[in-house]
Symmetry: C2
Subunit: 250 residues, 2 copies
């Protein structure tokens, strides 16, 4: 160790970008910081990695302390280690993101959890540290991942409608999709179980409910199947409401 002692003076943390999906909108769980540095600012949930803890374990711990959830989709994205990113010293952080079913999330009793709140990803800005950049990197990774692997289901309740699924994809990919083509594509993959149930209590024709068939996916995978949604060069999603006849002050 001798000559290398100089180097054993750093700390490292994990930060976890926790995504959820609600009201047709992609959300991220943020913490209002109650202590320095950046007191009062919103930031990503994270903490120092314990001396005897693996990185993934630390990320799982942070997630569980906040949400009570275990066995959740979680993936390492990128490590941020600019010299001056942390005022306490040299701290590098390993960024993870996780996907949770927001309906399963319940406020935890821990003091940290009481400071947590969901924010629309598209509206988040001005976070503590370099967390804006971290969020951006994780969102970018999610965008890619959702087109290459069937992870979208991690964000939906166990039973969902095709329209909900489509809205999820539209929110993540920031695009609009054609209803018929989307359904054709998804159903042709043979990854959904038609539950033969329908929504109840909606003021319109109730939609069929589906479930993701994880076993079938594993099976297809081993046969060389590759989940793949094309990168659509389509128009940005717009707030589809042109100047109707709402009177404007001229």
């Amino acid at each position: 160790m001798n000559e290398f002692n100089e180097y054993f003076k750093s700390a490292f943390t994990v930060d976890n970008v926790i995504f959820g999906f609600d009201e047709g909108d992609l959300k991220v769980l943020l913490i209002k910081r109650g202590e320095d540095p950046y007191r009062g600012k919103w930031g990503l949930p994270g903490y120092f990695v314990y001396p005897n803890e693996d990185l993934d374990t630390a990320a799982i711990r942070v997630l569980e302390e906040l949400t009570g959830l275990r066995n959740v989709f979680l993936e390492q994205v990128k490590t941020f280690g600019s010299v001056n990113r942390h005022p306490f010293g040299r701290v590098i952080t390993v960024a993870y993101f996780s996907l949770i079913k927001i309906s399963h999330y319940t406020l935890q009793p821990s003091s940290i959890a009481r400071k947590a709140k969901w924010h629309s990803v598209s509206e988040v800005t001005g976070l503590a540290f370099d967390h804006d950049e971290i969020l951006k990197a994780c969102f970018h990774r999610l965008k890619w991942l959702v087109r290459s692997r069937p992870v979208g289901f991690e964000l939906l309740p166990p039973k969902f409608t095709l329209t909900e699924l489509q809205h999820l994809y539209e929110a993540i990919l920031e695009t609009s999709l054609d209803k018929r083509n989307f359904r054709k594509k998804i159903l042709s993959m043979d990854l959904l179980i038609d539950l033969d149930e329908t929504q109840e209590g909606v003021a319109h024709r109730p939609a069929r409910l589906y479930q993701f068939d994880r076993n079938r996916y594993e099976e297809l995978l081993s046969e060389g199947f590759s989940f793949e949604l094309k990168e659509s060069k389509k128009k940005e999603r717009t707030t589809e409401r042109a100047a109707s006849s709402s009177p404007q002050t001229a």
Copy 2:
């Protein structure tokens, strides 16, 4: 700082998977370790990150000390931090990979460089630390990257033939490609400059030389162009020699 002192006892390093392409084969530059731990084993080039050094800078430094090269393609891939991965203490390492033109590589005078040697990626095994795993992760990332962005050119000399380019893709993707279809696809992207020169001194019809048009790529990018080579579900590259008429014992 006070209460957090416990955490400021870790070190971190960068490891750099340096890829090159030669003799139709994807290579990686490894170091024969002259010191403990893992003395005598091959390992990835890497070193501690200096207290006032950014991660990327450290990776660039490691690369330059070894190869003398600057302004090289380099990308962070993943961070490895198992509790016991390093016998000296808690050391997490940030893995990078870089792509260099092997023809530009010349043996550096530094003592470290004298222990470096190119190895075929497909044959490497039994590296120091968790470097097998790191190499695997970087190779996997390269495989993905080469299909999504025109980075293959980083591994070729400035002037190359289409067949060389095809062989490069075949080596990285571990597959075989159809010559006519490959050419059609690549040329249709309008990213290559036909130099109107040909090979010299080859014992067959000399091939035309091409150059990657980086400016054109930037231009196309800004127009929304997306480089994309499909994931071919084709046969593994085989040593194309089936039982011809060689007699089998019946």
